[in-house]
């Protein structure tokens, strides 16, 4: 029996299940005890107690740093960074500590740490509350990164992340928290690194993740009306990513477009595009197209923000250029 849940409640579900299943799982972050700024941890403190659902001061570096220490001691902390922009305060702990501990210590440490980040724009929250910074972390060995666009997927990837013995960033698009969808009753673990083909198609492979999944799917519907048959792959896992599935699709469609909400320049789309071109150079009819936010800080005024960020409409008009 599947349930219908809002995205934020699917997060809560995953956290509750994980805490039920394993007493070493605990949550910490700003306001998480009161349910979180976006309601994703509602009810957890009542259920699991203040010891395991911890409100913190505004101290991102301590939030992540304490989590690293706790993880090295055998706990499975789930830290929340309210907006990914704020992870800037905690970069040392994420990148120089969490990511490298195991390696620096010759494989003797395990850091089973999950960092949930609200991510991205379309909130009219301007330049310091709208960033999608996954490419920073994809560049850092030792980290894994997942993201999801539907309630079912976030439940899956978040639980997978918590079970993973490595530090994993879980990116939750802020603009999707209220979207409702089906969530399967049971969870079965999958090892991080899988993607999901959200739509089968023959003409072009659209690769995306996070917030733009919904935009891409909408674009694919529109394009279908113009006889352009899109395959849509939601990476779900950005690091590592499922190259095999993507390449097999591109070998078949001979065209690829990568779409993300992060800035286009030096976004993770560049990695995907470069990889596809390395491995499917002969099969490609055209260069891999990259669609991302324009290279400006995210502006406040809605009309400008909608212009800067990729939308379904924009994706349609860009993809059409290939045909």
């Amino acid at each position: 029996m599947a349930m219908r849940l809002a995205y934020s409640k699917a997060v809560t579900l995953a956290l509750a299940e994980a805490m039920d299943a394993d007493s070493s799982v605990f949550c910490l972050g700003e306001d998480v005890g009161y349910g979180g700024a976006y309601g994703a941890t509602q009810g957890l403190r009542d259920r699991f107690g203040a010891d395991r659902v911890r409100d913190t001061p505004i101290s991102e570096s301590a939030i992540v740093g304490f989590s690293v220490g706790a993880a090295m001691s055998g706990m499975r902390p789930v830290a929340e960074i309210m907006h990914m922009d704020f992870i800037a305060i905690a970069m040392d702990q994420v990148v120089n500590q969490a990511a490298k501990m195991r390696y620096m210590f010759g494989g003797k440490a395990k850091v089973p740490l999950t960092i949930r980040c609200g991510v991205g724009g379309y909130l009219n929250a301007a330049a310091q509350h709208s960033q999608s910074l996954e490419s920073w972390f994809a560049h850092i060995p030792g980290l894994k990164i997942v993201s999801a666009a539907t309630p079912a997927d976030i439940r899956q990837v978040l639980r997978d992340a918590i079970l993973d013995d490595n530090p994993v960033l879980v990116l939750e698009p802020l603009g999707l928290y209220e979207n409702v969808g089906e969530v399967p009753e049971t969870y079965a673990r999958k090892k991080i690194g899988y993607c999901d083909v959200k739509r089968r198609g023959e003409d072009v492979t659209l690769i995306t993740w996070g917030r733009t999944v919904t935009e891409v799917l909408e674009a694919a519907e529109t394009l279908a009306r113009d006889q352009i048959d899109c395959e849509v792959i939601d990476l779900l896992s950005i690091s590592p990513w499922d190259k095999k599935t993507v390449l097999e699709s591109v070998w078949r469609t001979n065209q690829a477009v990568v779409v993300h909400q992060a800035h286009r320049t030096a976004g993770f789309g560049a990695e995907v595009a470069a990889t596809i071109m390395e491995k499917a150079f002969k099969e490609l009819d055209a260069p891999v197209m990259r669609i991302g936010a324009l290279d400006t800080p995210i502006p406040f005024a809605p009309a400008m923000e909608r212009y800067v960020l990729p939308t379904a409409e924009r994706i349609v008009s860009e993809v059409k250029k290939l045909f």
Binding site: E30, I89, L123, N124, A126, A127, H129, P299, F300, A301
Partner: protein, 328 residues
């Protein structure tokens, strides 16, 4: 401590009323979805921003926070362009690029509201560093919340500002909460101003709802800074009447608690004082409020009539010398 110039109280009262009315108006506009983004209301905390800014000169600089409307208006930001910014219009103070969390007006020393907790703190100190190197008389003020005093850059900044003896005042608006978290749950000390001791800096706590007390303490701190005596940490104890942001369900406190604090309304307190001093009577207060309403309404009209931004406006102002590419 010397009483402030009595005329100042009236002036500050006027400012507080203006901020209150502006904020009340904003809430209505926001509720009716006329205004995009997030709103963090300053209602209840007016005495702090006003008392501090009254101690400053135009060439002095403030950095502000996500809860910045009061600071910005108190420092003298033009209301028309302020409202236009909140509407995201092209003649807003930031051409619609900043919005509520980034209102700025460098010409009058508003080096910006800031969406990152503690973000403006080192920046204000950097302004003071520039003043110190150039031997200018400029003083800067970093506004911050109680919550901001827990974040790393606060610590780095206060330490270095003390070591370099910079002309900066760190104003902590202790409004009882950091987001949903009570001060007593995010730090274990009874006075945030105690943190000054960790830096060999002067620390002062005042009633942040008493505009005169804030003004006097701020004046003292600003004078000390200007005289080359270095920074002060000034804690103003006040209370946030509204939720953290508009829409906050506020499970973390009772309405009773809020009502209790409303009895300490900084505007009412100033009215009492003005009456006691024989400087004004209820009719004056009514007139001042009416005047404020008129100013705010006209600013809202200005904003509503302001030109909408063009999507492509987004491409400018990234660099001083390069345009960014738009969609082809």
């Amino acid at each position: 401590m010397a009483v402030s110039n009595e005329g100042d109280i009236l002036k500050m009262y006027r400012q507080m009323v203006l901020i209150r009315v502006a904020e009340e108006t904003l809430l209505r506009l926001f509720e009716s979805a006329e205004m995009p983004g997030f709103i963090h209301s300053y209602i209840g905390e007016e005495a702090t921003g006003v008392g501090v800014c009254q101690a400053l000169e135009v060439s002095d600089v403030i950095t502000s926070t996500h809860r910045g409307h009061g600071h910005v208006i108190a420092k003298g930001c033009d209301l028309n362009h302020f409202f236009a910014e909140l509407y995201g219009r092209s003649n807003g103070t930031c051409k619609g690029k900043g919005g509520s969390m980034h209102v700025a007006d460098l010409d009058i020393g508003v080096f910006g509201a800031n969406g990152i907790v503690g973000g403006g703190v080192p920046i204000a100190a950097g302004v003071a560093l520039a003043a110190s190197i150039r031997k200018e008389r400029r003083v800067s003020v970093a506004f911050m919340g109680d919550g901001a005093t827990d974040i790393g850059p606060f610590h780095e900044t206060l330490n270095l500002a003390a070591v370099w003896n910079l002309p900066v005042v760190f104003v902590v608006e202790n409004n009882g909460f950091a987001d949903f978290i009570r001060v007593s749950d995010h730090q274990k000390i009874d006075r945030i101003s105690k943190r000054a001791d960790a830096y060999g800096m002067k620390g002062v706590t005042v009633d942040g709802n008493d505009v005169e007390a804030v003004f006097i303490a701020a004046t003292e701190a600003v004078r000390a800074a200007r005289r080359g005596e270095g920074p002060t940490l000034l804690e103003c104890v006040t209370y946030r009447w509204r939720g953290h942001f508009e829409g906050d369900p506020q499970p973390y406190r009772t309405q009773d608690e809020v009502e209790e604090w409303k009895l300490k309304d900084p505007l009412k307190a100033a009215e009492k004082r003005l009456e006691a001093l024989g400087l004004a009577v209820q009719a004056d207060f009514d007139a001042i409020r009416k005047e404020a309403i008129a100013r705010v309404e006209s600013a809202v009209e200005f904003a509503r009539a302001s030109p909408h931004v063009k999507p492509e406006d987004a491409l400018s102002d990234v660099y001083t010398d390069m345009e960014v590419e738009g969609w082809q």
